[in-house]
Symmetry: C2
């Protein structure tokens, strides 16, 4: 699609200093020109959009979601806020509802969430399976993601998270072997990534190592839920395996952060989880930054610990609760998240990259951080199509 966006008051490209009074030209979905509007070449492209002085940033890249699920966890949420220990059934509620839902129902539910994310400026999204949680059900969820990709303009990055929840009654070694054996089929069902929930009460570091090693052999990229609930050594494993991302990291140590930086593993920060869980784990962002780790942001969209499709909200909490600067947070939500997906065609506005833009409802990106509870995004552009 061809589109010229004019009258951009302030443009963050993520590849150079912010531009003022700028324009962007997209042709056949790709950016072909970026610069000051006064230099705009004549006869640039078809449709024109007048940004009216708004600030424009790259379309957001959500580096971590569990978008495919059914059911609600309202009782658990209300009980948690009421100070009760009752967990309302927890993740099992989601697993049961997801198993009971048809393919079409799951696609419909995920598509509504994707539409919400799009309205909040997201243009690329990582999507995990994980509520199967047997390999057969997990492969079915990969099929849901494949169907979803035909229903939403978002660029999806499907992740096979077979090792999310241990199915009740299964022997651990058996189940891990089954997940390992399923990797080639996960690739056939469209997975590009593998992930493991490696934490206290979930999968061990050694189990995660076996699973991710098999995933790499099958040709999948590697991600890892690490150091969220307790310190387990998962971050060190992520560095050893050269994972593209290590996610959460609330309990990471400075030494592990240095190892992640050296390995080029991107840290995916998920501030909405900390808020949802009423935790006070806000300090790890500063520690990771200090170690020179590339930071990414994600919503962790899921029914239990972060019901959120809004990257601007993740940015806002990343700043106000986690202590990122405005510049760091916007980089993490675009370029950093793209790097966690090993992509250089999204997360920046540059010639050759996809024409994916978030047109902010503000003159300056800082205003969507400062303005609490307000609307952040006016329009979202994916591959030159205005949404």
């Amino acid at each position: 699609m061809n589109l010229t966006v004019r009258r951009i008051g302030r443009l963050l490209t993520m590849t150079r200093e912010p531009l003022v009074d700028a324009a962007v030209v997209v042709r056949q979905g790709r950016v072909v020109w970026v610069g000051a509007e006064r230099d705009l070449p004549a006869g640039a492209a078809g449709e024109e959009y007048d940004a009216g002085g708004a600030c424009v940033v790259p379309g957001f890249v959500d580096a971590h979601t569990h978008l495919v699920f059914a059911g609600v966890r309202r009782e658990e949420f209300v009980a948690r806020l009421g100070g009760e220990s009752y967990d309302g059934g927890g993740i099992a509620v989601t697993v049961d509802a997801t198993r009971a839902a048809s393919h079409e129902e799951l696609v419909d539910l995920a598509a509504a969430r994707a539409a919400s994310a799009l309205s909040h400026g997201t243009t690329t999204m990582e999507v995990k399976t994980g509520y199967g949680p047997t390999p057969e059900h997990e492969l079915r969820l990969l099929d849901v993601i494949a169907s979803l990709s035909r229903r939403t303009p978002l660029r999806l990055e499907p992740t096979y998270l077979g090792a999310h929840v241990m199915p009740p009654g299964r022997e651990r070694g058996d189940y891990v072997r089954e997940v390992v054996a399923t990797m080639p089929r996960a690739v056939e069902h469209g997975a590009r990534w593998a992930d493991v929930f490696c934490d206290q009460g979930a999968f061990t570091v050694e189990e995660a190592r076996r699973i991710l090693t098999a995933a790499r052999e099958a040709g999948l990229g590697l991600r890892l839920h690490a150091e969220e609930i307790a310190h387990t050594g998962a971050a060190r494993l992520a560095a050893q395996l050269g994972c593209a991302s290590a996610d959460h990291l609330e309990h990471v140590t400075p030494e592990e952060a240095a190892a992640l930086a050296a390995a080029g593993t991107v840290a995916v920060l998920l501030p909405t989880v900390t808020l949802s869980l009423r935790s006070d784990a806000w300090g790890h962002a500063a520690l990771l930054r200090e170690a020179g780790v590339e930071l990414a942001l994600g919503t962790d969209c899921n029914p239990g610990t972060s019901w959120c499709e809004s990257m601007p909200y993740a940015i806002q909490l990343g700043c106000l609760a986690m202590g990122l600067s405005v510049e760091e947070a916007f980089r993490a939500a675009t370029l950093g998240a793209a790097r966690s997906l090993r992509r250089d065609d999204v997360g920046r506005i540059a010639v050759g990259a996809w024409g994916d833009l978030a047109i902010l409802d503000a003159e300056h990106e800082a205003d969507v951080v400062a303005h609490l509870g307000g609307r952040a995004v006016l329009r979202t552009v994916v591959g030159g199509f205005l949404h």
Copy 2:
């Protein structure tokens, strides 16, 4: 205006247990009937609105705003997040911009914020002066609030906050005497309340006592900014004077909380300020609840420490960051805030009260707390008019 709202999936009236499958009838702006839809009397009222199973709550009452101001404080905000000590000029930036703005400009700016608040379900709002900050300029800001009340459907409660910022170069005693002397004129200019920013670096407890005593003599109701920045004894003063509200209270002690409870002073909690300032002052809500103080919520909408017009966001942070239950937070945002304004005609859905409703974009009020960054309110009704 006459309106029947049907097909309410869940109705919180604040006067009895939640109703299911309910309806509300408003005639000439007032609620004339509330109950289960199957009992709806025939020929109830003119216009009908089908809530489609949504949850409906009383229109929100925002108990604390500084809605009338000009200028932006972006530099200060960016610097604060970047860890710099530079304050960008702070409140003086707002004072200068507000003084430089015309009456019409100030009304326009405030009207846009009021429209945003309305879209977030607010139907009654307390509005303070305070960026004058000389009595003459403060009276001008009361005139702005009077003009605003003709531009917005919101029910406004104007507060004279002559003692907000000490004007540079003035002798304290002189200035306090001037504020005291201005009280009768504040009433003439439409004020219903007086407030003092009683805190470290602002006005002392003794100054606040003099000002509020004069305000009471002039017929104004009393509110007090208390114990926000430091512990000063302001909460005890609020209890002694029988203030309708004591606001902020981050540093309140259990003894002072007990005094507020005994005096019937409502505690106005402002969680968006704590987030905006990157503070960790979240514990006072539990302490106040423990003491049996009636709780209210407000946005504290202002350009420096809480740029926010959204009561659902205050509710969300009240729960997730401050530890209120869902039930407590909705009560604080409706009935509690109405009590802080000594009103029983708003903040509840009952025969005789104003027909002010927030129709949530959810089946259950807990979902607008759990769903982060999402839209909370579908439609707002003020006096039977749909907005």
